[in-house]
């Protein structure tokens, strides 16, 4: 009868860490007064394995063995049975975030598979210099047909803080063919497995163009990519599953050459 219930959480970015207190209000609004049997609020945290359409069959083996793991569960009674007056009623609440038993609270993450990971990691900068020439390429069928080029560059670090952008620079020292585009491709690699075997799935989650057209030779082009919030999480390795990230530097040459250089990344949250 026109009664609406809404839960509002105080923190705007909705990110909470273990040990913190989750607070907010329950808003009940209705035209008329409402009779009720009490209000209680339950907080529940689970880890769930979902089946990707791609890997049907591979997972079935262990899918059933892994049940949703509950990591947090707490219930509070907010209001005793009674009546809400007409209009808007706000009931504040607070939950302490405590992990159940000896389990670790992982970060929420939506991927192809669900993943979780420890809160803290150690970050040591690990710069990478790279040079791409026809000679460095693998997987080339006819090396002779390739135009000559020399592309140098470096990434400031392959160990990245997830909230900070990936940076570096790239210099086209020379290229016979005109360059059409240079792109950064962020790829996520998910591996699920147990003793029986594992499934590996690589997905492009972001593609950023850093150069468009035939860029000036010898002039460094910045490499700069912000990690998407929703699709990235810190790199994670557990016994059952792995989430890793890689970045590809993709150079498109005229008329139709595609050159890719791959760099594994290690993401963490500080």
């Amino acid at each position: 009868m026109g009664t609406a219930l809404d839960i509002k959480i105080k923190r705007a970015n909705k990110v909470y860490h273990a040990g913190e207190v989750l607070s907010g209000v329950v808003v009940i609004s209705s035209k008329d007064s409402v009779q009720h049997q009490g209000v209680s609020l339950t907080m529940e945290g689970t880890v769930n394995l979902q089946l990707s359409a791609k890997s049907v069959g591979v997972f079935e083996a262990f899918y059933n063995s892994v049940k949703p793991i509950q990591i947090i569960n707490s219930t509070i009674e907010m209001v005793k049975p009674g009546k809400f007056p007409s209009g808007k009623t706000e009931i504040p609440f607070e939950f302490p975030l405590h992990v159940k038993g000896n389990k670790v609270l992982y970060e929420t993450y939506h991927g192809v598979f669900v993943n979780i990971q420890p809160q803290k990691g150690k970050l040591t900068p690990s710069p990478v210099d790279f040079t791409i020439t026809p000679e460095t390429l693998q997987n080339v069928k006819e090396r002779a047909l390739l135009p000559k080029f020399l592309i140098r560059g470096h990434l400031n670090s392959t160990n990245c803080v997830i909230t900070q952008p990936l940076t570096g620079e790239l210099v086209v020292e020379s290229s016979e063919a005109a360059i059409r585009s240079v792109e950064l491709q962020l790829v996520r690699v998910e591996t699920c497995g147990c003793a029986e075997g594992y499934a590996r799935d690589a997905t492009e989650i972001q593609n950023i163009q850093i150069a468009d057209g035939d860029v000036c030779r010898g002039l460094s082009v910045p490499i700069y990519m912000v990690f998407p919030r929703l699709f990235t999480c810190p790199t994670l390795e557990t016994t059952n599953f792995k989430v890793e990230f890689e970045v590809n530097i993709v150079v498109l040459l005229h008329p139709d050459h595609l050159i890719t250089e791959n760099f594994p990344l290690k993401l963490c949250r500080t």
Partner: protein, 1018 residues
């Protein structure tokens, strides 16, 4: 004296027997026998003993007027059966009255204080001047010798200014405060008002690049090519599909966009822009962003900037500072993430740049971190043209958001220099070949963006930086493009002091790239603003002109020459200017090239005029007039003429008779005048008349009056279509006549008398050609007065008669400044003025006594007045005043050397009787009218008219006369009868009468006052 002027006058004077004095004097009776048609107009019976006719001219204005006392015209239809009140004018002693009104004159002894006398006291201390002056004047007189005491009194000691001075400090400090704040703010924002905003620039650019169709198409291709390198013809196809996609996207209708002109394209973009705004407003923000992304790769560059600007506007609008809490930060961050994930580089860049301002929500250093990053990001844009515009946009946003961050501007510039060589790289060249665009038309697409970047950097930049920038530009090959932007963006002084270096560099430039004439044009623009070193000036001109004169294309040539003319005018004499003008003529004449370049040619003229204020020098520039001849389209030519005349009026201080100036300007004025036709607007005519009048006023031949008159004759024939000019000419000629009189001190010689008559004749034949009725009336009156003052009696008569015969033509309504107004009040004004003049006009020996007054009365009687207006009666009251004044022994005023009726008739009783008869008639009319008013619902009018008539009698009538006395009492009662009178006025009037009665000879008023009861309010 122009003989042509005399002849028509002589002819005329025979047609109308307006017997000019000259004729009358020489051949006394020759013309007198001719009947005057205007006189015969109303005469019922001319039964008149014309004794005067036989008399010689000298004595013709004698006492014979008395014999016409029984002139039937006195009883013209004005009179009725009504009870006739005789009029008896009060005798006035004007001198005594005047003396009694005036303040007592106090004789002033030498050394006495007088405020209007310059103080010349030098020995004040010893002499001890005795005077009643105030303290302040004492101090001032002893202080200085020749200072105006009024001003010195005011100096300092004036209590008001003292007060102001003491009151000021508070205000002053406040003002100083606010100004300091303002300055602080200015300092903070770094960008002062002298920084040219982008909005201005954009307008210019769009205007410049769409003027010629060809160029705009090139521009189009250039920008499109930068995007995808598609073939030129495919462009519209591509745009079409893209727009269709967008249409689908918006679920809008599909449009046929095959034949897309640029205008359509721009319109379409505007439409999309609108939908973008709508989407934003309707909360579909993601959709809006999508539109932006889709749109961006599609648009031509300026539109793109514009678009980005719009989205910036939208987004920053959303994040207004009051939202700057955590939520806003979160929302903002969300957006940044969304934008950061835009795949394509260029849209991402533009959107990021456009929301640069929002960075301040995230952190204090946000902008200063972001700006350099974006600067670097542009490096990824391969196409130089696209990247330069991206830089321009970033500079623009940077200047707006964080003008203090100069480093990123500089970095932009140096980055640009690094990529500069790309323009000549293979990729670009190949694309140009594919598109069929040649380099000289491709390169000019750069300057707008480059100019902007350069301008941003050089704004308030230290000299050292500018020098460094220049040095780096020098080092690059084919730097014409850079040079051009340097010249258009850097401070003019900077450029001007290095002009010779620049000329050297320009010469070294590769002709194939950027057209050199554009470089010289830019240099010229700078030199017009700032002066190069004295020693280099001539050399600069020579070097530059050497190149300019070799330009083949007239358009290129004129664009360049136009700029350099200013420099030439500024620093050189007429010789050089003449050479330059000659060169321009030489280039622009073949194939009538000037037809396409009127605006530039016009600018040249304007510049020349601006620097040559001395018109005798200007017109001695031989090629100036031939230059004017190039303006063959009439509208343009008239515009140019206007400019010249405006300059002349503004700068010519002294009247001139220089034949060169006169000839040239007459020609110019004639051109303006000849442009007037039936379709010319009133405003335009007024403007032209104003200019021509200004010229006429500035022409003076000094004492050579005849030359002056012939100039006026010539002007009249030239400017006959502009009425205000004719009016001006009439006034000028009248002035000339009066000037002659002044020179002769009132005694005309035979020669000057003839000249003055010629002047009068000029006016007489010019006035009828005017259309404005009141203009004509007033000019007749005015010229008549001038004629009278110059003893041209019969001519004066002719003027007055002409005025009288014109009165019936006065329409009821006249057009004043576009509105129809009743003319009666104007007529009343004119007639009153006229009466004042008529007082002193002597009667003509052949016509009746007061013939002008009679004629005028007849005309007034016949004029169709408004039905319910009292103007006619008011005029009659004035006539009464006139007639009273005329019956005095000595008139109130005279004209020197003209005998008015007072001395002609010498107070003859017959003349007085005639006069009184007229008065009676007029009074009868007034009373009749008062009677008619009683019938209607017009009692208020009756009352006020009655009172005014009463006042007239009081002022001018002799109240010792019983009848008149009785009449005034009756009027007094009439005024009060219906309670319409204003009691206060009545009381005042009565008080006045009582006061007057105390004066000598006025004792009879005491008795009158007793007979005038005051109506009580009850």
């Amino acid at each position: 004296m122009a003989p042509a002027e005399v002849v028509p006058w002589a002819v005329r004077s025979r047609q109308l027997p307006l017997t000019s004095m000259a004729l009358a004097e020489n051949e006394t009776c020759a013309v007198q026998s001719v009947a005057c048609p205007s006189q015969a107009w109303r005469l019922k019976t001319v039964r008149q003993a014309r004794q005067g006719e036989a008399r010689p001219g000298g004595a013709r204005r004698g006492l014979d007027g008395g014999s016409r006392a029984d002139d039937p015209r006195t009883s013209c239809h004005v009179t009725r059966k009504m009870a006739v009140f005789p009029w008896h004018s009060r005798n006035r002693n004007y001198k005594a009255e005047f003396a009694s009104c005036r303040l007592e004159a106090v004789p002033l002894e030498f050394g006495d204080y007088h405020p209007l006398k310059p103080i010349t006291v030098t020995e004040s201390k010893t002499k001890k001047v005795t005077r009643k002056g105030s303290t302040s004047s004492t101090s001032s007189s002893s202080s200085s010798s020749m200072v105006d005491p009024l001003s010195s009194v005011l100096d300092g000691t004036d209590p008001l200014s003292m007060f102001a001075a003491t009151a000021d400090p508070a205000a002053l400090t406040a003002a100083a405060d606010s100004s300091r704040k303002k300055r602080d703010r200015d300092d903070n924002s770094v960008v002062g008002s002298d920084f040219e905003p982008w909005a201005n620039k954009r307008g210019e650019i769009l205007a410049r690049y769409t003027t010629t169709e060809k160029l705009s198409i090139n521009l189009f291709m250039g920008s499109e090519k930068g995007r995808a390198g598609t073939a030129a013809f495919a462009m519209s196809e591509k745009v079409r599909t893209r727009l269709e996609e967008l249409d689908d996207f918006e679920e809008g209708s599909q449009k046929e966009l095959l034949n897309l002109t640029q205008q359509d394209y721009v319109n379409r973009i505007e439409e999309l822009n609108q939908s973008l705004k709508d989407a934003w407003a309707s909360d579909q923000k993601v959709k809006a962003l999508k539109i932006v992304i889709q749109l961006l790769p599609n648009n031509d560059i300026w539109k793109e900037t514009h678009r980005a600007d719009e989205s910036c506007f939208c987004i920053t609008d959303h994040f207004s500072p009051e939202n700057a809490n955590d939520t806003a930060k979160e929302t903002c961050l969300n957006w940044f993430f969304k934008i950061a994930s835009i795949r394509e580089l260029i849209p991402r860049f533009y959107v990021e740049a456009s929301i640069l301002k929002c960075n301040k929500f995230l952190s204090k250093t946000g902008i200063s971190e972001c700006l350099p990053r974006l600067t670097c990001m542009i490096r990824g844009i391969g196409d130089p043209l696209v990247s330069v515009y991206a830089r321009a946009y970033l500079c623009r946003v940077g200047m707006e958001v964080a003008p203090h961050l100069k480093e990123s501007l500089n970095k932009n510039f140096f980055d640009f220099l690094l990529t500069f060589k790309q323009i000549h790289g293979d990729t670009v060249q190949n694309q140009l070949v594919v598109q069929g665009v040649d380099l000289p038309s491709y390169l000019p697409l750069y300057p707008p963006a480059m100019d902007w970047i350069f301008q941003c950097i050089s704004y308030h930049a230290p000299e050292a930086l500018l020098t460094e920038m220049m040095e780096r530009c020098k080092k690059l090959g084919n730097n014409a493009l850079l040079l051009n932007s340097v010249m258009s963006a850097f401070r003019a002084e900077f450029i001007a002091t290095r002009s010779m270096d620049f000329i050297g560099m320009i010469k070294e430039c590769d002709e194939s790239g950027f057209p050199k004439h554009l470089l010289f044009r830019s240099l010229g623009l700078n030199l017009a603003l700032a002066d190069p070193p004295e020693s280099d000036r001539l050399q600069i001109l020579n070097e530059a002109w050497k190149v300019i004169t070799k330009l083949k294309n007239p358009q290129d040539y004129i664009n360049c020459a136009e700029v350099w003319v200013e420099y030439t005018c500024k620093h050189f004499t007429k010789r050089e200017v003449n050479t330059v003008l000659a060169d321009v003529i030489k280039h622009m004449t073949p194939d009538r090239a000037f037809e396409d370049s009127y605006p530039q040619l016009q600018l040249i003229i304007k510049k020349v005029i601006a620097y040559f204020h001395d018109f005798s020098v200007l017109f001695s520039v031989e090629k100036f007039l031939p230059f004017l001849d190039m303006f063959q389209k009439e509208s343009v030519r008239v515009e140019v003429c206007k400019c010249i005349m405006e300059a002349f009026i503004k700068h010519q201080q002294e009247p001139t008779k220089d034949p060169v100036i006169l000839n040239a300007l007459l020609h110019v004025c004639k051109t303006m005048h000849d442009s007037v036709n039936a379709l010319t607007l009133e405003d335009e005519k007024r403007m032209l008349s104003y200019l021509i009048n200004g010229f006429i006023k500035m022409v003076s031949f000094g004492r050579d009056f005849e030359q002056q008159l012939s100039f006026y004759v010539e002007s009249r024939s030239m400017f006959c279509n502009l009425e205000p000019v004719l009016v001006q000419l009439i006034h000028s000629v009248n002035r000339l006549a009066m000037e002659t009189r002044k020179v002769m001190k009132g005694n005309h010689s035979r020669k000057t008398a003839a000249f003055v008559r010629a002047c009068v004749a000029y006016c007489f034949i010019t006035i009828p050609s005017l259309t404005g009725i009141f203009t004509r009336l007033n000019l007749y009156l005015h010229s008549g007065q001038v004629a009278l003052a110059n003893q041209c009696l019969s001519q004066a008569d002719a003027f007055f008669k002409a005025a009288i015969s014109l009165i019936p033509e006065v329409p009821k309504m006249i057009n004043i400044e576009g509105k129809m107004r009743p003319s009666e009040s104007f007529l009343l004004e004119f007639l009153c003025n006229f009466f004042s003049t008529l007082l002193i006009v002597p009667d003509h020996p052949e016509h009746g006594v007061l013939f002008l007054v009679r004629e005028l009365l007849n005309v007034i009687q016949d004029y169709t007045w408004e039905d319910n207006s009292d103007e006619k009666i008011r005029i009659y009251t004035c006539v009464l005043h006139l007639l009273s004044a005329m019956s005095q022994e000595t008139y109130l005023y005279h004209i020197d050397k003209v005998d008015s009726n007072d001395s002609l008739y010498g107070g003859d009783s017959k003349f007085l009787a005639e006069n009184n008869k007229l008065c009676e008639t007029v009074m009868a009319q007034i009373l009749e009218h008062l009677k008619t008013l009683a019938k209607d619902e017009a009692l208020k009018r009756q009352s006020s008219l009655g009172l005014s008539f009463f006042n007239s009698i009081l002022a001018h009538g002799d109240l010792r006369n019983n009848k008149l006395n009785q009449l005034s009492v009756n009027l007094w009662h009439l005024a009060q009868r219906h309670g319409c009178a204003d009691t206060r006025t009545m009381v005042k009037t009565l008080e006045y009468i009582k006061k007057r009665s105390k004066q000598p000879d006025m004792t009879h008023l005491t008795e009158l006052a007793l007979r005038l009861p005051l109506q009580t309010r009850t």
